[in-house]
Assembly symmetry: C2
Homo-oligomer: 205 residues x 2
Amino acid sequence: MGHSQLAKAQNHQRIVEIAGQRLRETGLHGIGLAELMKEAGLTVGGFYKHFESREALVGEALEAALGYWQAALQSEKGPTFAGLIDDYLSESHRDRPGTGCVLAALAGDIARADERTRDLCTEKIREQIELLAGLAGGGSGKSGRALAILTYSALVGAISLARAVNDDLLSREILDSVKKSLRRRERDRKQGVRRQPGKRAQRRA
Amino acid sequence: MGHSQLAKAQNHQRIVEIAGQRLRETGLHGIGLAELMKEAGLTVGGFYKHFESREALVGEALEAALGYWQAALQSEKGPTFAGLIDDYLSESHRDRPGTGCVLAALAGDIARADERTRDLCTEKIREQIELLAGLAGGGSGKSGRALAILTYSALVGAISLARAVNDDLLSREILDSVKKSLRRRERDRKQGVRRQPGKRAQRRA
DNA sequence: TGTACATCAGTGAACGCGCGTTCACTGATGTAC
DNA sequence: TGTACATCAGTGAACGCGCGTTCACTGATGTAC
């Protein structure tokens, strides 16, 4: 319980990390500072030694949470399109919003948030789409980007619905069905792209 | 400002309707009773002559709002799959969450809501999927349902992302791109189904 | 049709609680000599 | 290496505000005679 600079930095990071989880679990207004600080092993009073306001913490936490997801995706050293879909639409992801995709958990809240927060998310969404488009196929054409946007939308929507739904059977059906549809979509496109030199070859096969 | 039974019923309906809009606009915890009653031309005190609690109002409002969407879809007398997609992914829908799809606006909040609310939404989601599956094609096969689920997920996700995004260009791109992708998907499937008797006919064309 | 009365939708103020924020204080940290 | 001192992370209580809920009261509604 020292007051060293190191301890402060560690505490700061811990608060941000916990906030990132709880915000995704309970919504942007779902948790109070007292509870948050307690969970970090501290008391409320100290909060303002770290952040200017609750809003400032939310900003930092969202930024970190968005970055975390990004990192997780890229660190998988060359994740595949199909692998990414399977991860995203897993029951594990559905049941752990706290460590999952920020947009799936908070899209509604973000749409109503201040401009700075929305700026942040806009850039992250842009990056995600580009990442997906890159994975979708070597082609730099528009269809890769279109597939990326469709895929991203379907992922976010499917997880949102699967979480909203109360019936485990329906919830799983949503995850599995979208998983299969998206996988097939990518497969179809890849085959189309690879046989590019002669389009007639597709018909012969 | 009478106290008649008729007036009460009208006030009740008005409160529910306004709540349905404001909740979709500001989230399940985004608006207070005082403001709500004021907007309905009443004062806070009278609230409990209509509802047992705030929670009860939210339940009624959500049920009405979900029903409203359902009705709008069906009253379009035989809406088409493509028409439905265009309506859902319109800028008008994006910019008016208050009168739009409950799930697109509140999926996050609903996932965290009490069981009764989630039950309600689960049934509505089931109905929507069946409605879409019915429109997707005459075939009663599994692929119609899979397309319905993919479509529904993509719709909810696309509108959620388009609302979260701050950049109007990217927002429109998401709407338009998903619109096109889904339209094509349905077209492809319809062609496949209609030429069922002889699969070879597809290759000849 | 007219009159007395019970009902109850709606009013406006007050209550109580939770939560973000502030503040005086503590004591370990780290620096200047 | 020791010592005196300034800094500041963290404490715990208090403040103020907003919001859901309660309550005594009002007066129009609608009913019984």
